[in-house]
Amino acid sequence: MKFSCGRGAMSITSSSAAWKPTDVVADQFPAGLRVLVVDDDPTCLMILEKMLRTCLYEVTKCNRAETALSILRENKNGFDIVISDVHMPDMDGFKLLEHIGLEMDLPVIMMSADDGKHVVMKGVTHGACDYLIKPVRIEALKNIWQHVVRKRKNEWKDFEQSGSVEEGDRQPKQSEDADYSSSANEGNWRGSKKRKDDEEETDERDDTSTLKKPRVVWSVELHQQFVAAVNQLGIDKAVPKKILELMNVPGLTRENVASHLQKYRLYLRRLSGVSQHQSNLNPPFISPQDSTFGPLSSLNGLDLQALAATGQLPTQSFARLQAAGLGRPTAKSSIPMTLVDQRNIFSFENPKLRFGEGQQQQQHMNNKQQINLLNGIPTNMEPRQLASLQHGGQSIGNMNMQVASHGAQNNQNNSLLMQMGQPQSRGQILGDTTVSHSPRRPSSMGQPILSNGMAANVASRNGIPETIGATSYNPVSQATSTLNFPMNHASELPGNSFPLGSTPGISSFSSKGTFQEDVSSEIKGSGGFMPSYVKFNDLSQHKPQNWELQNVGMTFNFPQHSSSLQSNLMQSVLVQQGSSGQMNGHNRSSAVVSRAMFSAGDIKEHGNAQNVNQHLNNLVDNIIRVKSEGVFDTSPGNLFPVHFGQEDLMGALLKQQDSIAPTENEFDFDGYSKDNIPV
């Protein structure tokens, strides 16, 4: 039990802010693993702390869940894993688990003297990566590092799966795998994904793993055709087969239409469910953390459905994120849906941008590793998840997740994670952020959507920033491209341009022209839900709440992964959105860059997508510059803009906003008024 190296060894590794897979040296790892242990029983707490110290881990203990959450929030990238008791007086252990999962996406181990099957099952369904029965033996603690590695490994895998398999990405991953892979891990990454909703996981995984073919890019025109067909048939009677026939687009498969239809339906449901952005967004997503859990479960159910439909969002994650982040009552499934959509948009955007950047991507690739550090960023987010996010407010959180999960979009995933945290209300912002993200693209429209989604995500996830930021950073260099991404890669982005066509907001976008393109491209599957657009508008209103935007920018930074750049971008944007919301531009580090991106996004939100684009471009440039200056220097943890102080983001955003006169909201955001979204 006793390690040969003395206690001093612990300090060696503890100094690093976050361990990167590549950095971890075989002989040192897992020493220095940063563990947070939460238990109201002082005896157990003391014993655990001693045991973990003996394992050469860096231990922080607290006896209250609230304390643990605030510690985690303050120090986003400060921990690698959390161990929590199930029965605690101030907060149920599972609630804490959900919060952490939504906000920080760290692996959480539950423990209890209770070994009843139902309790253990609860742990599994809530996403715990392990369940220990008390009394805990030191042998059980010795191996907890496997959960951290597994999670990171899966994140990388997600990136790969997203479809954009780049050499660079592969290599680092492979090397990492070589270092850390174990038989347990190999067969298990799926299991580790359990953190995210099971349903979602399954869906996504199937999608990403089985469908390596190029995604259909739901361009604005395509989406409009789709919407026209749906309207012609009647939304109730619209079946994929008939829609396909009406659209008469060569090369389009029934499956493409079916998934797009799903997202579209979610989007519509979200729209109808969201009369007031506030009411919609707030209640569903944001509720005091404690209180949200109740609705979360219900939401999760709903989200799940939505997600299941879209196959993307981890409803749970979203719900939680939203709840956690926004502090609003989460329970509304409707929102999650919209968020999801937005997310999809983002995801699309991100990956696209990335590709465009090419070189930047390279950077990202490098950053990828850093991103991995993002503790627990749910990189598993699939692009689809993003889409689903759009759907629901909650989805915002999910979107983040989704974005992150877009395999290809590794970067994005991280960002998505961040976004996840953001409650759906943020989603609006996300939309904006996305917009901002695509500064490159002439069509600012695209970006706004993304930002909306992202913002939403961001908002919801105040807690996320850290993780996301890290990942998003890498994309930062790329981010600039990512910002533009949504816009630029209209063709590249598989995004569904739902929003473009169907909703009024979208139409406004369409007028924008460029934007629409972007949007469509960005929105992978979610089909560019309008919500994102709408959100965009709202976002503009919410300047102060720029957190979303900020985050968005940040998330974009993230998309490092080559293939998934696009998605990553979205994700990163989203993530950042989420995080920035919280951070309000305080984090200067890499976050700054991302923030700049947000600002661009924000500006875009304000309405003039096109103008925004330009601004974003500027912003992006600035961001990139900033990023290159300081971002990468920061420790991995810093990479992720999420960490950035929100103030920084806000500042960046505000600055941008000032420079860019907010244009009238062109998007008719039907439900989301940014103002209402509590930051």
């Binding site: 039990m1 005896t43 014993i47 001693k50 045991m51 029965h87 003297a113 008390k134 009394p135 030191i138």
Partner: protein, 187 residues
């Protein structure tokens, strides 16, 4: 030598505690956590356990004394006590808690009151034993000796109620770290 005798006495005493199930393998884990950098670890943890348990027992008494007993609360307290006693290795206390919880589920007031008495009884017993044990250890240390550890072979022979695996582990660890005293080995 006196120290050796004290050590032998300590080992014998500890063994009886194990055999009578006052303590289980988890206590050995605690002992193994103690090292030069933390020489009073066991003492600190055990003291913490005492304080915490007494508080819990008081809360339990009060909760069961109410005209209308809140069994959920009672169950929460018992669960907590179960957790801490199992972490310490106070096996009998833990077992008594398990029984206690079963009756809580049935919401049987008389039975739960009896259980409370049983838990209290076991607690005071093990408290007494542990205090004796710690005192013996202190005496040895004061006399310049080192605290002997229970050898693995002994542990393996005891039916640890499903902790066989931990027994194995102990073997590996203990041998490497603790069995360096010939006098102990001979035991």
């Amino acid at each position: 030598m006196e120290v050796v005798q004290m050590q032998r006495g300590l080992v014998d005493y500890t063994k009886t505690l194990f055999m009578e199930c006052f303590l289980d393998a988890q206590f050995l884990q605690l002992q193994q956590l103690q090292d030069e950098s933390n020489p009073d670890f066991v003492f600190e943890v055990v003291s913490l356990f005492f304080d915490d348990s007494e508080k819990l027992l008081n809360d339990l008494s009060m909760a069961l004394d109410q005209p209308s007993v809140d069994f959920k609360k009672v169950d929460a307290h018992v669960h907590q006590l179960k957790g801490s006693s199992s972490s310490i290795g106070a096996q009998r206390v833990k077992d008594a808690c398990v029984t206690f919880r079963n009756f809580c589920e049935e919401q049987n007031i008389e039975a739960t009151l009896r259980c409370l008495q049983q838990v209290k009884h076991e607690y005071y017993l093990v408290k007494n034993k542990l205090e004796t044990l710690l005192r013996l250890e202190q005496q040895i240390v004061a006399a310049g000796g080192s605290i002997p550890m229970i050898e693995m072979g002994f542990l393996k022979t005891i039916n640890m109620k499903g902790k066989h695996d931990s027994g194995v582990v102990y073997t590996v660890e203990t041998y490497g770290v603790f069995c360096d005293s010939t006098s102990i080995r001979s035991l």
